[in-house]
């Protein structure tokens, strides 16, 4: 019986490695041409990430990340429906992009130095800023993570969360006791019952998990964010393609700042002369965006199509993660708020 276990694990490994080998770097050629020739944009998302990308009853991927696939298709092909969104596992998705089998990935990949150094893929623009934080019961009276010396901390077993906690507490010269629990139910149960003083995870996850508490208001998320998780769009390297993705995202941010949404964009465009200069440059018939369209090979009205078919950044955020969703994320309390609201997002100038 033991032999068969060894055999199984041994056979699994060459299979996985075989996949890695097959992923030899293909041509880093004109990705834009390929997308237009196929009239379809292949975009990889996670197959099971509630709020970010999950298939609906028709098998079509819906979610925050899936919408950036639609943004790319709307900007380049003029039709959000031409995004061919496919659910693929995490490490396979990076291999697939490097192998040239997909055009882009929109799947909560943290942009890190070693990943960016890979010449087979290009990190384009961060769509979601996440980071690891701490949640505590309000009754503890703790207002800062610096007060957590000797606390008991619940965290997911085997995760990088454990490493971040160890690093951070060592740097602060503080000690703690970890409860590294693999099962999520057991972990939350332990925290809500006071077996641990602190729950550590990505801030987004903390916000979502707080909703599962008997009384969510009894728990507070501490201001310290101890790790950076910039979740970033990945593209096959191609200057025009990368620029198109980057600036399509800036269009969504600009629309967000001016309160333009898919619902009111037609009214705004109809009354463009009365709008701020920013919006005139975005939607005008002879504007910065039409100039860019000519140089990048995009449809003339690409900026309008992105907002009309997908929406502004805030609209997409609220649609999939906002207060009306099970996630109940308040964008203003995350790093994804506009700089003016204490976040890290601001639109680059489209001019």
């Amino acid at each position: 019986m033991t032999t068969s276990k060894i055999l199984m694990s041994l056979t699994a490994t060459p299979l996985a490695l075989g996949l890695a080998l097959a992923a030899a770097p293909a041509l880093a050629g004109p990705v834009m041409d390929d997308i237009k020739a196929k009239d379809s944009l292949i975009c990889l998302v996670s197959a099971t990430a509630p709020g970010f990308s999950v298939p609906d009853s028709q098998g079509v991927f819906q979610g925050f990340n899936a919408d950036f696939c639609r943004m790319a298709a709307a900007a380049i092909l003029g039709d959000a429906a031409k995004a061919d969104i496919r659910g693929v596992g995490f490490s396979d998705s990076m291999k697939t992009i490097v192998a040239g089998e997909a055009h882009m990935g929109s799947r909560s990949i943290t942009r890190t130095g070693t990943r960016d150094a890979d010449e087979g893929m290009a990190f384009v623009v961060t769509t979601f800023f996440d980071g690891q934080g701490f949640m505590v019961p309000g009754a503890l009276g703790v207002t800062s993570a610096a007060e957590l010396d000797k606390a008991a901390i619940c965290a997911e077993d085997g995760s990088t969360t454990l490493l971040n906690i160890a690093d951070w507490f060592a740097a602060q010269g503080m000690t703690y006791r970890v409860e590294n629990i693999a099962d999520k139910t057991a972990r939350l149960e332990a925290f809500f019952s006071g077996k641990c003083d602190v729950y550590a995870s990505d801030v987004t996850a903390l916000t979502a998990d707080r909703q599962l508490a008997p009384v969510p208001g009894d728990y507070v998320i501490l201001p310290e964010v101890i790790s950076a998780e910039p979740l970033t769009l990945v593209a096959r390297p191609d200057q025009a393609f990368e620029a198109s993705l980057f600036w399509a995202f800036q269009v969504m941010l600009t629309a967000d700042v001016h309160g333009v949404t898919s619902a009111n964009v037609d009214a705004i465009v109809a009354d463009l002369a009365q709008q701020p200069a920013d919006l005139q440059r975005l939607f005008g018939t002879d504007s910065a965006t039409t100039d860019m369209a000519a140089k990048l090979g995009l449809p003339q009205d690409w900026a309008y199509q992105v907002v009309k078919q997908v929406g502004s950044y805030g609209e997409v955020f609220d649609r999939h993660l906002g207060a009306a969703t099970p996630f109940g994320l308040d964008r203003a309390s995350t790093l994804n708020a506009h700089v003016a609201d204490g976040g890290l997002m601001y639109p680059y100038p489209i001019r």
Binding site: L10, L21, K150, G158, L163, S193
Partner: protein
């Protein structure tokens, strides 16, 4: 072995068997070469050098001093020791519970039999991970939070841990091994003397109290006379938790309870089978000789049951050792938990799986060989008394 070996009959060579074995070996060789080549191709050199690197993560509890700055190798050792502790405690508990419930299941009392039947059927037919989660949630919710811990003198109970006083460890305490060894020798001598007296005169001499007095009294007297430091530390509540003293985590107790009850149910069935396998005549003969029911059980039934149940018990013990790996679910830092975290960090699944498998295999083989030896001793004794 008294028979002289038979002259070997001329048999055709076992082509089929040889072929199958050769095929298996060939497949293994191809697999090994394939892994090696693929890893080379992917730029991964298999090796165990990473074990010396800094682990960078903490464990929920450890029997040896361990911190995040220690190496992966030390993390594995700490996880292994946690697994061994859990396995040993689980073996004792499962055996005690199993034997007791096995005995209850064959009592004449219908109520007793019903209790045993309920217990066995309940725990035998539920997935242990479900039982574990249920116990965990009940313990975490049912026990008081640390600030409202139930206290009994220096002992405290909360949904985190059981806290108790402990003697501060000190290297000088190693000297206590001397009087302890002397006490053990004296106790053995006393036990032999008691047996001789019983053999010669039939008189009973107390053994257990004397042995305990020797084992505890000698080191204590030595410590007092020689001034070996025995400083007690008491758990005292600080800002977040008790500090000082010793603690047993709730997750350890919950996993122990789950494994003890789950395997206790299986062992109860093994024991029941063993008891039913003892011929009724044996019991009746013993009763006819005038032995009390207690003595019938102790001197006639149990020795025979023991010989019958050891082979199936080996199976139970090995299963229990492997099942300690469910502990990962509720946050007891066992070998499996440490191994999984290391794989996630180093992306060396092959090496870590081989190490983990080798360690579990070693533990299981150790347990089964010890039980096999016990089995051999009992059989030899049985064979001697039968002649």
């Amino acid at each position: 072995m008294q028979h002289s070996p038979r002259p070997a009959a001329r048999k055709p060579p076992d082509w089929l068997g040889t072929g199958v074995v050769a095929l298996i070996l060939l497949a293994l060789a191809v697999l090994g070469a394939n892994i090696w080549l693929n890893m080379q191709g992917a730029g991964v050199t298999p090796g165990f050098g990473f074990l010396a690197q800094t682990a960078g993560f903490d464990l929920s509890e450890s029997l040896i001093p361990y911190a995040a700055k220690d190496s992966y190798a030390r993390a594995i050792l700490a996880g292994l020791l946690n697994t061994v502790l859990l396995a040993l405690a689980g073996l004792v508990m499962a055996t005690v519970v199993g034997v007791l419930m096995g005995l209850v299941s064959v009592t004449p009392s219908p109520a007793g039999r019903m209790v045993a039947l309920l217990y066995v059927e309940l725990f035998r037919n539920l997935p242990k991970i479900l039982v574990l989660l249920l116990f965990y949630v009940l313990a975490v919710r049912g026990l008081p939070p640390v600030r409202e811990a139930l206290s009994l003198g220096p002992f405290h109970l909360s949904n985190r841990s059981v806290y108790m006083p402990m003697i501060l460890p000190d290297p000088a305490q190693l000297w206590l091994l001397l009087p302890l060894g002397a006490g053990a020798l004296a106790a053995i001598f006393w036990a032999r003397r008691a047996r001789r007296i019983k053999w010669e005169t039939g008189r009973e001499t107390p053994v257990l109290p004397v042995a305990l007095a020797l084992l505890l009294g000698l080191p204590l007297a030595f410590a007092l006379l020689a001034g070996v430091p025995l400083v007690p530390t008491l758990p005292t509540f600080e800002r977040f938790d008790f500090a000082g003293g010793a603690r047993l985590s709730v997750q350890f107790l919950v996993v122990l309870l789950t494994l003890g009850l789950y395997h206790g149910a299986q062992i109860a069935e093994v024991v029941r089978g063993g008891i039913l396998a003892v011929p009724r005549g044996q019991v009746e003969a013993a009763r006819a000789l005038g032995l009390s029911p207690r003595h019938v059980t102790r001197f006639v039934v149990l020795p025979q049951v023991l010989r019958i149940v050891i082979p199936p018990m080996i199976n139970q013990y090995v299963n229990l050792i492997k099942n300690t790996s469910v502990a990962i679910v509720v946050g007891y830092s066992d070998l499996m938990s440490v191994s999984g975290t290391i794989i996630n960090q180093t992306f060396r699944p092959l090496e870590m799986m081989l190490i983990t498998m080798a360690l579990y295999l070693g533990l299981s083989l150790l347990a089964s060989s010890a039980m096999n030896r016990l089995n051999a001793v009992l059989r030899a004794r049985g064979a001697r008394s039968a002649t």
